[in-house]
């Protein structure tokens, strides 16, 4: 294609090198998969609405919980935050585009194919992967269905995509900042992404290596995870969680960044303790490499190991506490208004902290012996991921959508979206704490009668939450098609370089880098 030429129609989206186009593609794919993964969750909640087996057989139930987890993490949350990074980072640091625009296109376009490969497992002969998103052997090796191989290669493709995306983000942040923007002056959202990208490059290859070992154990007679040859199935758990724990920070750190951008705008104050926020994110990222075995306290580790991982895990509460304290201190004596992004951000602080506290409970080895593999764990990670990461994502989109489209959205419907989501998400996940403490195991299609009431509540909450998300789609489409025009600043208290650009932001963000005082 000749220089400067800009194709139209579908070809534009397939061949684009523009960070805004690619950001949009990421977000669109993420939300399609959000509804796909969400429907799977609703299959789960339908079956669990009442005790007994009514709708699906247990094997299909297991396939649903496996694919729900994989799609929500790799298909929805990760791509959506990469989409935000694509849209925002160049605008926030005063760059014309991402550092490696062609590679940016490749990082995105691998993903739809990776998920086609994953989805194909539902349609080929034999069951889809049914061993949970954690892929533990021997369920995934000796006893894994044929479709497991598609899953393995699909994870390889996602890994390639994430690593290239992360390399691009780091190169952009390190190399394309406007003159005068030192690292310490950089917006917090960009900081959190810098650290997230580092985590991605450090741990995605470990996941790729682990699933490669799975593949070889399945087909080439290796004994990585087979004790008969001197290997160990538990070794997979160590490798997986060495990836898996940093992975949960990959999902939540950009969310921290979003919240740290939004709270100052709607409190009309500066972010409290800005530098300490940056150090806190750095500490969380470093500690995330030293805590992985807290996911496997009941597997039979030496006591010294259990103690080590218990203490390191609890240590993470310190930098996280710094962050929550600073957010609350930012609100203190601010002149606060409650626009939709702010509502989601405030709910994030409250509900993410609940998820954080249940995490602390799980970190205690003796207590975890009781909670392990129960619905308490399900409640914990859904609290940090749904009203945590997902709410932060909604906050971010409601915050920056007027900048992207140049139009305001219907605040009334957006508020309905918030309140319905807020109530439903608590109805959905809070009862799971009680279920878990009472001993209901996770990943089962049927349960004892005494768990019926709380499960019914959770299912009603689940469907309400699912339906409420349709309002979000209405808001976004309405905004794009016929929202009223808005100014470049959009919000009264907005701050940062992206708000100096006109709304909608021009195709190439800053052709000439701005000077930062």
């Amino acid at each position: 294609m000749r220089t400067g030429e800009r194709p139209k129609g579908v070809i534009r989206w397939i061949t684009t090198t523009n960070h805004k186009d690619i950001g949009t593609l990421y977000l669109v794919l993420a939300f399609i998969l959000f509804f796909v993964g969400g429907s799977m969750a609703l299959v789960i909640r339908t079956e669990l609405f009442a005790p007994g087996l009514q709708w699906v057989d247990p094997d299909f139930f297991n396939q649903m919980s496996t694919l729900h987890g994989l799609i929500m993490i790799f298909g929805f949350l990760m791509p959506s935050f990469v989409g935000l990074a694509n849209w925002q980072i160049p605008m926030m640091i005063g760059a014309p585009d991402m550092a490696l625009p062609r590679m940016n296109n490749l990082s995105f376009w691998i993903l739809p194919f990776a998920f086609l490969l994953l989805a194909s497992t539902l349609f080929i002969e034999g069951p889809a992967p049914n061993f949970g998103w954690t892929l533990y052997p021997p369920l995934s090796t000796t006893y894994g269905p044929d479709s497991t191989d598609f899953l393995i290669f699909s994870i390889h493709l996602m890994g390639i995509s994430s690593i290239m995306g992360a390399i691009n983000i780091i190169a952009t942040i390190l190399n394309l900042r406007a003159p005068g923007m030192s690292l310490i002056k950089m917006p917090i959202f960009v900081w959190t992404w810098l650290i997230t990208a580092f985590l991605l490059i450090a741990v995605m290859p470990v996941l790729a290596g682990s699933v490669t070992m799975m593949l070889m154990d399945r087909h080439f007679g290796t004994s990585f995870f087979n004790a008969g040859g001197g290997g160990d199935p538990v070794l997979f758990q160590h490798l997986f969680w060495f990836f898996g724990h940093p992975e949960v920070y990959i999902l939540i750190l950009p969310a921290f960044g979003v919240i740290s951008e939004i709270l100052p705008t709607f409190s009309r104050k500066k972010l409290f303790g800005r530098t300490s926020m940056i150090y806190a994110v750095g500490c969380i990222a470093l500690l995330s490499f030293l805590v992985w075995a807290h996911h496997m306290f009941t597997v039979g580790m030496p006591v010294a190991g259990e103690l080590f991982f218990m203490y390191t895990t609890m240590l993470i509460a310190v930098p996280t506490g710094v962050k929550v304290f600073n957010w609350v201190a930012t609100l203190y004596r601010g002149s606060i208004t409650f626009e939709p992004p702010m509502l989601f951000a405030l709910a994030f602080i409250l509900l993410f902290t609940i998820g954080g506290f249940s995490g602390l409970m799980l970190a205690m080895v003796p207590a975890d012996f009781q909670y392990h593999d129960t619905y308490f764990v399900v409640a914990h990670f859904h609290y940090v991921l749904v009203p945590g990461a997902v709410f932060a994502l909604f906050a971010a989109i409601y915050y920056w959508l007027p900048k992207w489209t140049g139009r305001l959205y219907n605040m009334h419907i957006a508020r309905w979206h918030f309140w319905l989501s807020f109530l439903a998400v608590n109805l959905l996940f809070f009862p799971m704490h009680f279920l878990g403490l009472a001993g209901m195991p996770r990943r089962i299609a049927d349960y004892a009668l005494q768990f019926a009431e709380f499960n019914r509540m959770a299912s009603i909450g689940g469907f309400t939450f699912g339906i409420a998300q349709l309002l979000f789609i209405v808001v976004v489409i309405q905004c794009i098609l016929r929202g009223p025009r808005t100014t470049s600043r959009v919000w009264e208290g907005s701050h940062g370089l992206e708000w100096t650009l006109p709304s909608p932001a021009p195709y190439h963000s800053f052709a000439i880098p701005p000077k930062i005082e």
């Binding site: 220089t3 550092a99 780091i170 741990v203 160990d232």
Partner: protein
Amino acid sequence: MHAVKNTYYVPSASYWPIMGSIGLVMAATGAVTALHNHNSQYGFYLLLLGFTMLVAMLFGWFRSVICEDAAELYSRQVEQSFRWGMAWFIFSEVAFFGAFFGVLFYARNYSVPWLAGSGDGVMTHHLLWPEFQGVWPLVENPDPTKFQNPKWYMGAWGVPAINTLILLSSAVTVTWAHWGVLQARRLQIILGLAATVLLGSLFLYFQAYEYIHAYQELELKISSGIYGTIFFTLTGFHGLHVAMGTLMLTVIGFRSLKGHFSPDNHFAFEATAWYWHFVDVVWLCLFVFVYCL
């Protein structure tokens, strides 16, 4: 020479990435099909087609980059992005090898001793395979009926030691070639690169020889327990990287012949040299932890 520019070059729309994605997914689908139906050729052909597309994509993509560089569209800042890109790519490779070294350490220090009854493994040992001794390198597996014992393990001081010398000298020759680029000494560049490619190929030849020796005489196979598994996967992935690096050096050699590199603009050369040194360091770790210890 780089012209002084104050705009960052953003390439226009490109078909290479989508070609790469399709090539990748075809290769993946082909690989799975080939694994599932050993009799049908269909999967193998699909795999081959996918790889061909990937190679074509890389060829075309790098060609675009070289043309854009020749047209002086790139500023110093663009080159800096390439530098960060390559550096972090190598970091991701370090993490990949880290996973496999992690397996080696875990097997040696935990899983094998536990299976042999040390620490908390007393009952495991007693109930599962009470005969198992757990001596590293593992030539007697816990369950020899499932994982056949090799006759012996691979010693360090034959071919592997020669290969260590070969790779270490290739690091010297590639650096010598780099000095040639910096001082614009054409002959030194060509000779240095040719020597490096030669040494890389020699390394691969010796490795193939070693593998044949392992399979035929030692009966040490990838399926003969965790020692064979980790031996062949670590040296195998490293060997793939050597092959890749040798190919990159060859391309760089041809580009040097065409006079693509100047003392102040030769990042492709440097990136390849970085990669080669990385491969070298991995080998040193391999030599120490897989062969010697």
